[in-house]
């Protein structure tokens, strides 16, 4: 969306570079909005789209994902000051999941950091971050631009994703390790492929100049014809990401910059991302507060819950055995792959150790009659559904 004219107001939501391809496939005409873009919520049937990503291959248009390009001599020291994790461990050609905080050690956002080439990074985040990145860059010799609109991106996720991409001509892709990046020539431009995704399954993300977006889509879908390729909307993606235990900003935590009530913010420890906090590295934004939190203890624990029964615990209160409030479910679903009733929840400390048992207060209706059930649930470790193919290298064909 470079060179915006002052007449841009005529278009409320901008079409993605894939729109000419996604639009005819959107049989339901169900569009949502995502950071100013028109984004498909569902194409045909949420359940079928979900199963495509777990059984064959689902394709999700992630162009609207906010992207920033970070370059310059101080790119690494800058990122190390910004992020809670040790960024130097993310080698060129690798991707790292990151979280960054404000001075108070509260999460501003999470995202993926792509070390594209030596000293060249791309940061993908849910929320726009340019103001914070530029503020954080004071004193560093770095160039930071938001280039969301300059890169078209597709998530190609599911068991047959590697086979499809190889058929499309991406030779040797099966050897790309999880969180690896590879570059391929594509019709006169460069196609970047990363073995990343928001599904917790075997899958890739493709990054290309928007002028080649349609060609990429066409080649991909032609290659995937015999491999069950199907477009996937935002609603199906939201199901697989919960199964994978991935957080969604604004749903599972409130980005610190949006918090009007300051007690609503969370530290990385409080959203289950303590493993991304490397307190042993030199100063980074929020370190002092996080050291203090480590000493005094966190206010919340973020947990995965396995809930008895099959009633989805969306927005449920979590109660202790005496039915006192201990927390709230942030995301919940019936997992068709784990065949389990699962939820992500924020619990008041000290509640939330693995094995702790609670009650989920679930409201559900059957034929318009509402019922309330206190479903026993327990805190589990690990991921709800994690197929072996997710981490296999070479990647399997299905």
């Amino acid at each position: 969306m470079k060179n915006l004219t002052k007449e841009h107001f005529h278009t409320h939501l901008y079409p993605s570079p894939f729109h000419s391809r996604t639009e005819p496939l959107n049989k339901l005409n169900q569009w949502g909005r995502w950071k100013g873009y028109l984004s498909a919520d569902a194409y045909t049937d949420i359940s079928m789209e979900y199963f495509a990503s777990r059984n064959t291959c689902g394709v999700f248009d992630l162009t609207p994902m906010t992207k920033h390009l970070i370059t310059g001599p101080d790119a690494l020291p800058f990122l190390n000051r910004l992020m809670t994790r040790e960024v130097s461990k993310i080698k060129p050609g690798r991707v790292g999941y990151c979280v960054w905080c404000n001075d108070d050690g509260r999460v501003i956002d999470d995202g993926t950091l792509f070390h594209l080439r030596e000293g060249v990074y791309r940061l993908c985040s849910q929320e726009p971050q340019i103001d914070w990145l530029l503020t954080s860059a004071i004193g560093f010799d770095v160039d930071i631009v938001e280039d969301t609109h300059d890169v078209a991106a597709l998530a190609v996720q599911g068991p047959t994703s590697c086979a499809i991409l190889r058929k499309m001509g991406l030779n040797g892709l099966e050897m790309l390790k999880p969180f690896g990046i590879e570059h391929y020539p594509f019709e006169g431009t460069e196609l970047m492929v990363s073995r990343t995704g928001y599904t917790g399954d075997l899958g890739y993300e493709l990054w290309i100049d928007p002028s080649h977006a349609e060609a990429l889509w066409d080649r991909l879908f032609a290659a995937g014809q015999d491999y069950g390729i199907a477009p996937m909307g935002g609603e199906a993606l939201d199901l697989v990401r919960v199964e994978a235990g991935f957080l969604l900003a604004g749903v599972d935590f409130l980005p610190a910059h949006e918090a009007i009530r300051p007690d609503r913010t969370r530290s990385p420890f409080e959203v289950g991302l303590g493993w991304l906090v490397h307190l042993d590295k030199p100063h980074f934004t929020g370190r002092r507060a996080l050291l203090e939190e480590k000493r005094r203890g966190s206010r919340y624990n973020f947990v995965k819950l396995d809930i008895d029964g099959n009633k989805t615990a969306e927005h449920s209160f979590i109660l202790d055995k005496r039915e006192n409030y201990v927390g709230t479910v942030t995301s919940a679903m019936w997992s068709p792959s784990a065949k389990a009733n699962i939820a992500l929840a924020s619990l008041e400390a000290p509640h939330g150790k693995v094995g702790d048992e609670f009650l989920a207060e679930v409201y559900y209706q059957r034929e318009l009659k509402w019922h309330r059930v206190l479903a026993p649930c327990r805190v589990i470790d690990g991921i709800f559904f994690e197929p072996a193919r997710r981490k296999m290298t070479p990647a399997p064909n299905f």
Partner: protein, 538 residues
Amino acid sequence: MKKYDAIVIGAGHNGLTNAAYLAKAGLKVLVLERNSYVGGATVSRELYKDWIYSNCSYVCSLLRPEIYRTLNLAKYGLQVVPYGGSVTMAENGDFLGSYIDHDVSRRELERHNARDADASLRFDTDIMRQCRLIRPFLMRTPPDPTSFKPWDLMQLLDFGREFLKLGEDVIYDTVRFYTMSIAEYLDEYFESDLIKANFAGPGIIGTALGVMSPGTSYVLLHHAMGDVDGSMGAWGFARGGMGAIANAMAACFQDHGGEIMTDAGVDQIIVKSGRVTGVALENGDEHYADLVVSNLDPKRTFLKLMDEKDLEPSFVEKARNFKIRGSSGKLNIALDGLPEFPQLGKDNPLIAGDMHFMDSVERLERAYDDWKNGTWSKDPYVDMLIPTLTDPTMAPPGKHYMSVFVQYVPPKVHGRDWTDEDRDAFGQTVIDQIANYSPNFKDLILHTEVRTPREIEDEVGLTEGNIFQGELTMDQLFFNRPFPGFAQYRGPVKGMYMCGSATHPGGGVMAAPGANAAREILRDLRRPNTVPEGWTDD
């Protein structure tokens, strides 16, 4: 002569609100209004056939929802309809729009400055935090910080608690917010001159201060702390003009047995043996009551309607020193059709929102320089609206009414009184400015009402034409409004009360001062409270 329980002087929205709650409590109340119509500055007037002007106040956001509901204003015909967006047109042909759609609005900020688009979220969050701090206290009587009465101490404690709820940073921010200039405050968020100019406007509306004067960031907050149906910071039109608000309040009051007398200007508040006994009208009539509530500003109330000998000299000094400087003017224009603003592009919806002509904070400050020099701004700041694009009741179909709020307009021109020639020259300045952006504007004008502080004072009664009944500066807010020691709505003599915008929480069509004063009066009378309490945000 009939004796009333209470006499309210002035049928503005606060006087009517006050009277309605007193009447609801069973008091026999008389409202006296100098004009032949009610409303004060909350009024709709047909000054040109078939056109209805909101000729003073023109938009609605601050009106407290609990008052709306408990006075049943909907039942008495009031409808508040939100309108969309705002735009600041720059001299170079560009503009900055705030669209109703948040994605379009964000993209518009991005068009000017990508970083500022991001920073605007931080800005909104910080403003919202301040709104959350202040809103619970709008419908409460300010505690006196020098008092050791349990009630005052409890209230102060409550205030402290609200602070702590918002976190330590908010305490630092609040002090800064109430003392900084809007220009300085915006510098901490934004880079683009046009974006800053756009956000700076609400910091000076109704205020005889410049965007670079300390204290103007609070004025911005004062314009952001209202809501329409819970949408904080949103503004709307009262359908049928602002008079619809006052008319609904008057109808509610009368439904509860209240009596309104128009063309009944008060000449004097009668005080006998240190307490009020009633009022004497300009026509010589006298009306008696144990309570007299003044909806007028303190200068008018204490320096004109009361005998200064009935007051303590130190109190008279306070009234004299009260800051109530005129800074605003208004044009109400009947238009034969819709004016075009070519620089907005075709079919831009922002023509239905607030329109401004400004492109930098410096240009806004220069408009203030003229005021300091004793004349109206040659390149004024306007807040211009075409209500008829939203409200079908104010002009015939296809015709339009334009409301143009103008800043800065001094209460006197180079120290002397306004003349009709001055007024017309001022009106022409504004019309010329609009015409710079709208080529067909002048040809469409059917009728113009030009109001300088002189007209506002003469017709509405606001001293110096100050729309807020006194500056909204830190020294005149909360427990200092209108004066230190007199912020709890009680006047200087027994039985005398104040209920206008000069009292906490200040100006704008909020009605909270009137309601708060009613609660204090009922407390003194040991009557059950009819004023809503505890409608706080969560």
